[in-house]
């Protein structure tokens, strides 16, 4: 039994660790390939002595293999040096912004579920009705309207025309209504579509069960079997969706002037502030990898058959 669990968890953890190593390595390669980091970070107007000191400090005068090892070591400690702006350690600058981004993402993920799952389930149970069809049409829009356009449209409607909510700013509670709504709507469309198709599949299997189980109403069958079974794939989708939400957050924060990681990233990219960008890249990698790992493991917990077969085949 323990062997099975190790056999199931072990390769997945290893894979996650490898993924992170790949990103760190590629970052190192791209950075080294793009030119002299000292010159890039200190700028062309830097004095020769400063450049020299910088190179020595970061071991840039050492062989590449040693640089690589030092880089990995530094990455492991989250030490990417100081931000060009303000000169504070990049890690601190980024971590300062984390709560603000989470304040957008967590409510919007909840909103996503609250809208997406019931809508998808309802559409599945009333398949091919006009409700189902309109929901499907709307979800196509949800897929294809980019979040920055949606955000601007919401500002135009609720803030410019109706004057209901402020168009942004983290200083007021109401300032976060529109950004959360913007992020939530796109995700909800994906979740609704996915829930619908998962439900339809589970339901079609359940017709057989219901037909053979006497004295149980259809409603009971759905509540006891269909929804729980349909939620498993939706859960994994959640892991995949997180990526879309992170990317969406970058755009939405910039639309609404929300001072989270997304805004920091864009400013840092514009200023080519390598240290900060690297920290954010690694942070996103860590988040995504652990989210995927978690979803993988949860999936195994929910579906023991999968656990058994995947341990057997790898």
């Amino acid at each position: 039994m323990t062997a099975t669990i190790i056999g199931f968890v072990g390769p997945k953890v290893l894979r996650a660790a490898l993924s992170i190593l790949v990103v760190v390595t590629l970052t190192f390669v791209v950075l080294r390939a793009s030119g002299d980091p000292a010159l890039q970070i200190l700028g062309p107007s830097a004095r020769a002595a400063d450049l020299e000191a910088f190179r020595r400090h970061w071991g840039l005068d050492q062989p590449l293999s040693l640089q690589y090892l030092r880089y990995i070591q530094a990455a492991f400690h989250g030490d990417f040096g100081n931000s060009m702006l303000g000169g504070k350690p990049a890690l601190d600058i980024v971590l300062e912004r984390v709560p603000l981004t989470l304040a957008l993402m967590i409510p919007s993920l909840i909103l996503t579920m609250l809208i997406g799952i019931p809508v998808g389930a309802y559409a599945a149970m009333h398949r091919d009705s006009w409700v189902d069809r309109s929901v499907m049409m709307l979800t196509v829009l949800g897929f294809t309207v980019p979040s920055f356009v949606l955000g601007l449209l919401l500002i135009l409607i609720f803030s410019v025309t109706l004057g209901l909510f402020p168009s942004g700013g983290a200083d007021r509670a109401a300032g976060f209504v529109l950004p959360v709504l913007t992020l939530g709507i796109g995700g909800a469309a994906i979740i609704a579509r996915f829930t619908r198709s998962a439900m339809i599949e589970v339901l079609s299997q359940l017709y057989v069960v219901a037909a053979s189980a006497k004295g149980v109403t259809w409603r009971q069958v759905v509540r006891q079997h269909a929804l729980p079974n349909a939620i498993i794939p939706v859960l994994t989708l959640f892991g995949l969706m997180l990526g879309g939400q992170v990317a969406g957050a970058v755009l939405v924060e910039n639309v609404f002037g929300w001072p989270g990681i997304g805004q920091l990233l864009v400013v840092s990219v514009a200023n080519r502030d390598h240290a900060v960008v690297q920290v954010i890249l690694l942070l996103v990698t860590l988040t995504m990898t652990s989210a995927n790992l978690l979803m993988d493991l949860l999936y195994g917990v929910f579906d023991p058959r999968l656990r058994a077969s995947s341990a057997g085949s790898h």
Binding site: A3, G7, P11, A311, G312, S313, H314
Partner: protein, 320 residues
């Protein structure tokens, strides 16, 4: 002259692999030896799953044996995928059962037949066109079919295309793996007769694989009977058909329509062969053998000459 020679060839496949537990293996082919003479046909017969196709693939050098040797014209086959291996393909060709899958559906009949000539850079474009034309005639495909696509042909016509493709580079060995099993009986006869005629004309050595003894009997000079990866009897075709010695061969022969003067004792074959993963100890046939005794469950009978014309692997062959 011996064209192809298999010497105690074995091949096993891993089944149900696992990172922790030990690997189980399935012995698909176990110590098989056989010969194909130039210009003659050796037939392999046996139930589905007994290792015929695997033997055929090893004979062609498409798969390599775990142990044993394959000699073609007296020398070992080159490493799979190597340059020598690729150019040797001209010499040895395969005819498949699944003709629809084996033909690229986006190519016309004449492009398909010209392809082996292009691959081996045989002649110039004009001489290749000429050769394609000859091949179409040889396999009996008409003027109106050469521009068609595989799915527009009947099964029999497709098999003729596959045959023409195999014959294009003028091979000396042809391995035919169930070449007619997917066809209607009337079409089967046409293809088989075509094959026999072509062999006579071109002097091909053929390894002919089928689960159907009636067909094997019709084309073969020698017959090899396989059961669960092992050869249980082999020898001259007429002897095997008229006087089968192994109980399994006897069962196969007696299931054929009765032949006047031939073997006419009825030996029913019951049940399915055991799975190749859990082969019974001793003689592989003992679970279905009507004359099995204790020794059959204890030791594996060797393939030994019974007379000058064949070899048999059965403990009791001399008792009866």
């Amino acid at each position: 002259m011996t064209l192809l020679r298999l010497e105690s060839v074995s091949r096993r496949f891993p089944v149900g692999s696992s990172i922790l537990g030990s690997r189980k293996y399935l012995a698909a082919v176990d110590g098989v030896s056989l010969n194909v003479e130039a210009g003659q046909t050796t037939g392999i017969v046996g139930e589905s799953g007994c290792g015929k196709s695997t033997t055929g693939r090893i004979a062609l050098g498409l798969d390599s044996p775990d142990s044993g040797r394959v000699l073609f014209q007296g020398s070992l086959l080159p490493r799979i995928g190597s340059k020598e291996w690729r150019s040797q393909r001209r010499q040895m060709q395969l005819v498949f059962q699944d003709t629809l899958g084996a033909l690229d559906r986006r190519m016309t009949v004449d492009a398909l037949i010209a392809e082996p000539l292009e691959i081996h850079a045989v002649g110039d474009a004009a001489s290749r066109r000429q050769r394609v034309w000859e091949l179409l005639q040889a396999v009996g495909l008409g003027d109106d079919q050469h521009m068609l696509y595989p799915h527009q042909l009947s099964g029999g016509q497709r098999q003729r295309v596959v045959l023409a493709r195999a014959l294009a580079p003028k091979p000396s060995l042809l391995v035919c793996d169930e070449p007619v099993s997917a066809l209607d009986v009337s079409v089967q006869a046409q293809i088989i007769n075509l094959l026999v005629d072509l062999q006579r004309e071109l002097g091909l050595g053929i390894l002919f694989i089928s689960h159907d003894l009636r067909i094997v009997r019709h084309v073969s000079d020698r017959i090899v009977v396989m059961y669960l990866g092992r050869v249980v009897e082999q020898g001259r075709a007429d002897v095997i058909i008229d006087h089968p010695a192994h109980p399994y061969t006897q069962a196969l022969v007696s299931a054929m329509p009765r032949l006047p003067g031939g073997f006419d004792q009825y030996v029913p074959l019951s049940g399915e062969p055991p799975s190749a993963t859990d082969r019974p100890s001793g003689c592989p046939f003992n679970s279905r053998c009507p004359v099995a005794q204790d020794i059959c469950r204890q030791s594996l009978p060797e393939l030994l000459p019974l007379d000058s014309k064949r070899e048999v692997a059965c403990h009791r062959v001399r008792d009866r």
